[in-house]
Assembly symmetry: C2
Homo-oligomer: 191 residues x 2
């Protein structure tokens, strides 16, 4: 059993909480009004939109030291839907890792819509959470949470692969926004 | 019925030829020994590895003027499997389009392994060819070839999205090389 803190109470925060609870883990969920409550989880999911991450780091950066921090963001320019707002050779996860040098940062959950995390499938394929990061133990801990909650998990490599995961998330969002796929579909992973 | 030329006789060239032939299209397949034979197809698939594209353009660039040119490459650094060899803010497709200003360049087939094009499915999902490009008619022509051959096709947006398609292809290749998915699996698309 892992102690998990989820910062954010939106769709993604709720469904990740639900997956973890289903797996029997302790879940602390904190919203913007809970600034007084310290983070207690060994694994902390930043379930806020990318533009809000800087505030969370400013507010809670010290609390995140020593913990596994999971970045789920898709740092799109939502005005144009035509690019990301992070440098082309970097990623939101890399920027967060640079800002939190005492945390073990993972990228995960950004390639799975909330609807597919809730349903457990992407069309006829089981929902698979792709996890990138530089710390094997941290990745294994998160993968165990995901699989105990009934989903599949794949180690997608080092944190450098967050760049590709964010490209997948970006592309998938444009496909859904353009009604090429539904918000309960998108990219599935076949073993 | 469309006249299709495929430059390249490897796995991908063969299977794309097979898909097009199944759809009732005329297929001309040209290998490295066929330099004397002019390209005749209205749609030309560059089914060669990325490092060979520059040679093909040098040899046949003038013949490609006025035609739809399909880039299927994944421009990986195959020594490190850790990056692409094109600039981070660009794509192989964008570079090919710049080199062939009189062709209508599309990106397609780089997110589908040869095995999934041949089988018609990615696990339990139908194989879907993602097509990016700036010319709607060219995309529709290629999509018609793909669907007539029994596969699905999705318009993935402008040629700028080739950057994301190449990230998907890159990530998928690393997952297969690391045995996280098989060469007959990978990313499927659920509507």
């Amino acid at each position: 059993m892992t102690n998990l803190s989820i910062l954010g109470t939106g769709n993604m925060g709720q469904v990740i909480a639900s997956v973890a609870a289903k797996g029997g883990h302790n879940v602390q969920q904190l919203g913007v009004d809970d600034l007084g409550a310290p983070v207690t989880g060994d694994v902390v999911v930043l379930a806020v939109p990318y533009p809000a991450v800087a505030d969370v780091i400013a507010q809670r950066g010290e609390q995140l030291a020593g913990r596994v921090v999971v970045d789920i963001t898709n740092p799109l320019d939502f005005e144009t839907f035509d690019s990301l707002v992070v440098p082309a050779d970097s990623s939101a996860a890399a920027e967060i890792a640079a800002a939190l040098p005492q945390s073990r940062v993972l990228k995960a959950f950004n390639t799975t819509f909330a609807g597919t995390l809730a349903a457990g499938n992407v069309g006829s394929l089981p929902t698979t959470v792709l996890i990138a990061g530089d710390d094997a133990d941290a990745k294994a801990t998160l993968a165990a949470i995901v699989t105990s909650g009934g989903l599949k998990a794949i180690d997608a490599g080092s944190l450098k692969r967050a760049r590709e995961l964010e490209a997948v998330g970006f592309l998938q969002l444009t496909l859904a926004a353009n009604e090429k796929v539904s918000w309960t579909g998108g990219f599935g992973v076949a073993a």
